[in-house]
């Protein structure tokens, strides 16, 4: 258990390092939040400089980092210059909406990828395998944004799905059941887009690992004993294949999260995506920092969980 505690401790250190590095990179990038006011013909240079002064952007980087850190630890998560409000007041609700997409997407992707990968692996080099490799290559080669746009186009042309947002305007007057149906119909396309971006890589990894594991001596021996195919898969192949897949599961949180940001922007999903993309381009430093801290926390937690699972699943590692 001390190992686990140590591991968690080092994760916190990692998060701290992430914040320092992120802040340093933000510092290196040109311009600040008020830079865009320079293009406004109504505003003089002096006025922009006065704003910088007023909001403390002229202080030294170390002081500004410290101010953010204080505010972050205190729970305000910093101060958003764009919204002129504490970051915590704009971020939590949207983070919830993002999880509303990414968590089901993650579950869906894995429940699809595992059986699909095993099934395809058993038909190695048959037409099923070839078709699946074509389909996964296509999905890998299409930008996430394009996939999302194509799905939107589908919605527009067929009229079967809403073309964006989380609820139909006016749905707030409906009953709970109708609202949930409305929500599901709005979430369907973004979910499809997310699964489409994450699934192909997973299916390929599952297939490759299962093929690899099927060659292991224990499996071959089991097959020699005439044990049924599905039993072999469950008892021997999958546990052997589990190792890279567990690592991958930890990583897929990061993949889904970053894909989700883009897809949310295209599909007008009220999650972190539109907020963070705006903040990135506007250089709203505290908002960007705190949002990347949230994302990193999820990522680090994912990897931590993966490592712990590896530890449990693969007893040899414990040595």
């Amino acid at each position: 258990m001390t190992a686990v505690a140590r591991r968690i401790g080092s994760s916190v250190v990692t998060l701290f390092a992430v914040s320092v590095f992120s802040f340093a990179l933000l510092e290196l990038a040109p311009g600040d939040f008020f830079t865009e006011l320079r293009m406004d013909t109504r505003v003089s240079t002096q006025a922009v400089d006065a704003l910088r002064e007023q909001y403390g952007l002229t202080q030294s980087p170390a002081v500004r980092y410290w101010l953010w850190l204080q505010s972050f630890v205190a729970g305000d998560l910093g101060f958003s210059l764009a919204h002129r409000a504490p970051v915590s007041s704009v971020i939590w609700e949207r983070a919830g909406n993002t999880l509303l997409l990414t968590v089901p997407a993650m579950l869906l992707t894995w429940t699809l990828a595992l059986p699909l990968g095993v099934w395809i692996a058993r038909r190695k080099n048959q037409w099923v395998d070839r078709v699946s490799s074509g389909v996964t290559s296509t999905l890998v080669a299409l930008p996430d944004l394009l996939v999302a746009m194509l799905l939107l186009l589908l919605a527009l042309r067929t009229g079967l799905f809403p073309t964006g947002g989380m609820y139909t305007p006016g749905a707030e007057d409906l009953g709970t059941g109708a609202r949930i149906r409305d929500l599901i119909s709005h979430a369907f396309l973004p979910l499809c887009a997310l699964v489409a971006t994450a699934l192909p890589a997973l299916v390929r990894h599952v297939r490759a690992s299962v093929i690899e594991a099927a060659q292991a001596p224990a499996v071959l021996a089991a097959r020699g004993h005439g044990i049924s195919h599905s039993r072999i898969t469950l008892r021997y192949v999958l546990p052997l294949a589990a190792n890279p897949l567990v690592s991958l599961a930890g990583l897929s949180i990061a993949t889904l999260l970053s894909a989700s940001l883009l897809i949310e922007v295209v599909m007008s999903w009220p999650g972190l995506g539109p907020l963070v993309v705006e903040a990135l381009l506007a250089k709203d430093v505290h908002l960007v920092l705190s949002a990347s801290m949230l994302a990193s926390a999820l990522l680090v937690a994912g990897n931590l969980a993966a490592d712990l699972t590896l530890y449990v699943v693969d007893p040899r590692i414990r040595a």
Binding site: A17, S137, L142, L146, R204, L251, L280, L310
Partner: protein
């Protein structure tokens, strides 16, 4: 012909075509035919308007429709037979070799855009072939960088474990979590504008590739971690096998599947990364063609809905992705047979 040979010949053909783009492309990829924005693909014909058959394929002249920005009418009174080895715009075939000979073309003022034109009236086929040079090159460079660094660190972490493992894996977490967009902003600001665009691009692709080491490293590390504890590895160790020997003979082959699968996935992903890079002013920049930039324009709603031929860079990228995937799985199979 058997499967491996087919895969290899398709890949070689694809790369030759792209490498010799100047020769295979009928036009200069940056030449703007401003009277023909978004002209649809010119159909190759054998039968003319009067129903006569011609052995040599030909195209009809095309006239812009004055009332319609992207409308065109075919002028069936003028026939332009397609000719092989025509003289056209000058290009550099390979470094040091200048040429004006193109594989095919039609006499002026006829035009043949087999894959249509883009918004500036530039020939999409020519841009696709020329763009492939930059994009495939970039994809391969970035993938090799990411895998090289990733496999090295992943192996070190998994094999030696302990502090090295902890340090490397926390670093991997860090690398995956930092918003790299800002690194690119910063790099762009630090570089002079006057740098050769291709040099800028390759540099940044290398950066993207190196930054991408964390994911393969984590995957490899997990496998190495368990491989080194397998009975036969421990047995070999007790017989006094050295670490390099163990790694080469017993541990790394286990990671092969994962590495090759990653390679097949990363090549198209890094070609796509240029869409983002272009947005930040880090792509190859206009007017030099690249698949990333072409896909970027495809993502505009108006282009997506109106001009189907602008999908061709996506099709090309899918072809490359399929080919590389086939190659990596083939190599995987071969290697496994060899190493047993």
């Amino acid at each position: 012909m058997n499967r491996p040979r087919a895969i290899v010949s398709v890949l070689v053909g694809l790369h030759l075509l792209v490498l010799l783009a100047g020769f295979a492309a009928p036009y200069d990829p940056v030449e703007q035919a401003r009277a023909f924005p978004y002209a649809p693909p010119t159909p190759l014909r054998f039968v003319d308007a009067d129903g006569r058959f011609h052995v040599r394929p030909f195209v009809y002249g095309v006239m812009p429709d004055p009332d319609n920005f992207d409308g065109y009418v075919e002028d069936t009174t003028r026939r332009f037979p397609v000719q092989l080895m025509v003289t056209g715009a000058a290009y550099t075939l390979l470094p040091g070799i200048q040429s004006r000979i193109h594989l095919f073309g039609v006499d002026s003022p006829g035009r043949t855009s087999l894959l249509g034109t883009d918004g500036f009236g530039r020939d999409v086929l020519s841009r696709l072939l020329h763009g492939g040079r930059v994009s495939i090159g970039a994809g391969l460079v970035a993938t090799s960088c990411a895998l090289l660094v990733g496999v090295t660190f992943g192996t070190l972490a998994g094999f030696f474990g302990g502090r090295i493992d902890a340090a490397l894996m926390r670093a991997a977490d860090l690398f995956m979590a930092i918003p790299w967009l800002y690194l690119l902003f910063a790099v762009r600001a630090a570089l002079p504008l006057h740098l050769d665009t291709r040099a800028t691009f390759l540099l940044l692709v290398a950066v993207v590739g190196v930054v991408g080491w964390a994911r393969p490293a984590r995957l490899v590390r997990g496998i190495v971690l368990s491989a080194r504890e397998r009975t036969y590895v421990t047995a070999a160790k007790s017989f006094g096998a050295t670490s390099p020997y163990l790694l080469r003979r017993h541990v790394l082959p286990q990671a092969l599947g994962v590495v090759l699968t990653q390679a097949g996935l990363l090549v198209p992903q890094y070609i796509l990364a240029e869409v983002t890079l272009s947005f930040l002013g880090l792509g190859v920049g206009e007017p030099t063609p690249s698949w990333g930039a072409m896909l970027g324009s495809l993502q505009q709603y108006s282009v997506l809905t109106s001009y189907w031929w602008m999908f061709t860079p996506a099709v090309a990228l899918v072809a490359v992705a399929v080919a590389y995937h086939a190659l990596t799985s083939m190599v995987h199979e071969r290697m496994r047979l060899v190493t047993g």
